[in-house]
């Protein structure tokens, strides 16, 4: 048979690689800043654009979508062409994808520091950017499916299956989680409220980890690890089972992010069961990766590429064992809201994603530039510094998490909390925060070393923009032989549909009943919608990213009820959140829970605390918010906010928009006058007034019910 000459597009891969490295450095530097802010609050610079609450989403978005995202595209574009023996379907689509994605990153880098955020983790970007993401994602998928259709290889290798699953699932997750009602071009309210919003968000959040950070990288592992080791994957049979069981089971496990919350119990249990089941496919995949190196372990000693990949796959194995263990309710009771979770995600992020990316870059760059790696020594140095960085990051965070959690829960012989002041438990672990910053710093130094090494490598070689290959054309005759799964692999569209069905079923079973059955969310008659001023305050709370450090979810533990609501003794109930668009339960307590904050302190306490937290709470690491005292409430938006809230189901009376402005003024004047009597002169228009109004409302409705009953 005559061989055909084709050219693989390396240029698009090169651009994605450059973007990976640049945004890796940016995202990790921002992460390092955030780490420093946590023990050295001056590093918030008293500026709204650099305060922790805005910097943290910038870090997470940059490392997930810019660093890991671009690396995923580089890996997919490189391996897919070679596995399918064809150039990408359409070069223009490739470039629209590339520049579109970078523009989205730019938009994120501008809007997040400006405080334009939905506050939903890893989905913080506002609705116009969400639409852009959906469009560019479709371009990526179109290009990918097109490439698969015009392939010259009859069967799709397992890596391609993982890429397909990535495309369809991320599309579904992103669209479902982004349903929102715009207030204006920069602000929207999610369609879902409270428990439902939480469930959708963590179905998204959990599966973003699964299908953005895991499946594409498993595909890359199945391609680059055999390439680097120069031997086929240990068991192709295992990889087939790995794929189907992983995508099917993963999608069910989202509720494990919401254990002991107000989520219905049965959904929590479902999440736990499936989380335990994930160990099987995850470890199957990990062992498949590690065993691929059977007989080649001697090479691991010298080859930095293999070293990175071995640690990456090991980190994957550790994180995917730890994840299911964390989803056991008794472990979760200790670990949730603490730095343990931060350690867990960074073992996955720095170890699995980061190291697999580094291994891939060290392998692919010399090949694309037709030369040898500039320095294997530097690559090995990077490996050791990076590994040390991960250890210095993770170990202090594990210690911090466990220590703080035990302090939260410790009672003395008289039955009182030993550490009733939350701040005590934070200051206790500050040395761990310092060590963590050192770990992150080391990891970043490694990335700089890699950047230098890769640039030197590229300079020594000549870039091969269009790599020539000789391949046989695909046999087009009808194939009747083979098993049904073989047939399935030859039908990419059908395959995509099946993968889609597999993930939709898990998602639907989990969510539909919660949306459907009334008894899942018992309503509380005394819970009323927020006043216009409180709504403004809540939006400021969202804008400043308060949810990054403060939960609003008192779990049903004696230690939490006693700490956060000693007089009322109420943990958080599902019915309390029915008007919360978005939900603000949070996932980490760097500061105390705020769900029972209303009425706990005087307005003047909040006034002073937000201005100089350290003066009010000695040793506080909370940033100061001086701009809230100068900026005024955007009253023009009041009516629009009320009307958008009504659209998503909050029962404000018809025409309440006309009344809202006056109600707002009245409430604001009341707070300002109260402050004045205590000697704090402030305009009733200042944003701090709205924020105080919101904080004083938190968790109060359920108490008014009690008063009514009494």
């Amino acid at each position: 048979m005559e061989l055909e000459k084709i050219h693989y597009d390396n240029k698009i891969v090169k651009y994605f690689i450059i973007a990976t490295v640049v945004f890796g450095i940016v995202g990790m530097t921002v992460g390092l800043l955030a780490a420093i802010q946590l023990f050295y609050p001056i590093a918030n610079f008293d500026l709204q654009y650099t305060s922790f609450g805005r910097i943290r989403p910038l870090h997470t978005n940059a490392v997930i979508f810019a660093f890991v995202g671009n690396a995923m595209f580089a890996g997919v574009y490189y391996s897919m062409q070679r596995l399918l023996k064809t150039r990408m379907f359409n070069d223009s689509l490739s470039w629209i994808h590339f520049w579109g994605w970078q523009l989205i990153i730019l938009a994120a880098a501008i809007t997040l520091p400006l405080g334009l955020s939905t506050s939903k983790e890893y989905a913080e970007l506002e609705w116009p950017i969400d639409i852009a993401i959906a469009l560019i994602w479709v371009v990526f998928g179109w290009n990918m499916i097109g490439t698969i259709i015009k392939r010259r290889e009859r069967h799709m290798y397992v890596a391609i299956w993982f890429y397909i699953a990535t495309f369809v699932t991320v599309a579904v997750l992103h669209i479902v989680n982004s349903f929102a009602m715009p207030v204006n071009f920069f602000k929207s309210y999610p369609f879902y409220a409270g428990v439902q919003d939480a469930l959708v968000q963590w179905w998204y959040g959990h599966n973003a980890v699964a299908f953005f950070l895991t499946t594409p990288f498993l595909g890359m592992m199945y391609y680059f690890l055999p390439k680097a080791a120069n031997r086929p994957v240990y068991s192709y049979r295992l990889s087939i089972i790995h794929f189907w069981s992983l995508i099917f089971i993963y999608i069910w496990a989202g509720p494990h992010h919401l254990l002991y919350t107000s989520l219905p119990d049965w959904v929590q249990s479902l999440g736990v069961v499936f989380s335990i089941m994930i160990i099987a496919p995850s470890w199957g995949g990990m062992l498949n990766g590690l065993l691929t190196l059977r007989g080649a372990w001697d090479r691991v000693r010298e080859d930095a590429v293999l070293k990175f990949m071995v640690v990456a796959v090991t980190a994957y194995g550790m994180a995917t064992l730890e994840g299911p263990l964390l989803s056991l309710k008794n472990v979760n009771a200790i670990a949730h809201f603490t730095d343990w979770i931060v350690a867990h995600v960074h073992v996955g992020g720095l170890g699995w994603n980061g190291f697999l990316i580094f291994g891939m870059l060290y392998w692919v760059v010399p090949r694309m530039w037709g030369t040898k790696l500039y320095s294997m020594k530097l690559a090995n140095l990077h490996f050791w510094i990076g590994t040390l960085g991960i250890i210095f990051y993770a170990v202090p965070m594990y210690i911090a998490g466990v220590v703080q959690s035990l302090m939260w829960k410790e009672f003395n012989a008289e039955g009182f909390l030993v550490y009733p002041n939350f701040l005590e438990t934070t200051t206790q672990i500050l040395p761990m925060y310092m060590l963590r910053a050192i770990g992150g710093g080391l990891y970043l130094v490694g990335v700089f070393i890699m950047t230098y090494n890769l640039m030197k490598t590229a300079a020594a070689g000549t870039f091969i923009a269009n790599e020539e290959a000789e391949v046989a054309p695909m046999v087009t005759a009808a194939h009747t032989e083979g098993h049904w799964h073989n047939a399935l692999e030859r039908k990419p569209i059908l395959f995509t549909m099946l993968a889609l069905v597999a993930i939709l079923i898990g998602g639907a079973i989990e969510m539909v009943p919660t949306f459907l059955i009334k008894s899942n969310i018992p309503t509380i008659a005394s819970v009323k919608p927020y006043t216009p001023l409180e709504l403004h305050g809540r939006d400021i709370y969202v804008r400043e990213g308060c949810v990054s450090c403060h939960s609003q979810m008192v779990r049903p533990f004696r230690s939490e009820v006693q700490r956060y609501d000693p007089t009322g003794a109420e943990y958080s109930k599902a019915g309390e959140f029915v008007y919360d668009h978005p939900f603000l339960w949070g996932s980490k307590r760097t500061g105390p829970d705020l769900h029972r904050q209303g009425g706990k302190y005087a307005d003047s306490w909040h006034y002073r605390h937000m201005l100089t937290p350290g003066d009010v709470s000695n040793g506080s690491i909370m940033p100061a918010y001086p701009w809230l005292y100068e900026q005024v409430i955007d009253k023009e938006q009041t009516a629009k906010k009320i009307s958008a809230m009504r659209t998503v189901g909050v029962p404000y009376a018809e025409e309440y928009e006309n009344q809202a402005g006056a109600d707002l003024e009245k409430q604001a004047n009341g707070i300002a006058e109260g402050l004045k009597m205590e000697g704090y002169e402030v305009s009733s228009d200042a944003e701090i007034i709205a924020l105080i109004a919101y904080l004083q409302r938190l968790g109060k409705d359920i108490k008014s019910e009690k008063v009514a009953v009494n």
């Binding site: 596995l83 290889e153 069967h155 086929p232 192709y236």
Partner: protein, 62 residues
């Protein structure tokens, strides 16, 4: 809106159970197939990343 639609379906709770059964059986069949699949096919697929069309090893279509 979809709330009403779903509520109007008779015995809506049976659907998740049926779905689960379908997928569970899909796995049993899939696993059985994967474990008994033709060795030549499995070996050939496993070798795929190592064939870049650069003439090192022959294309499977040859």
């Amino acid at each position: 809106m979809f709330k009403e639609i779903l509520q109007s379906i008779d015995n809506v709770q049976i659907w998740p159970i049926i779905s689960f059964c379908i997928f569970f059986n899909f796995f049993l069949v899939l696993s059985w197939w994967a474990l008994t699949a033709d060795k030549k096919y499995i070996d050939d697929m496993g070798q795929m990343p190592l064939r870049d069309g650069d003439g090192e090893t022959p294309n499977s279509n040859l």
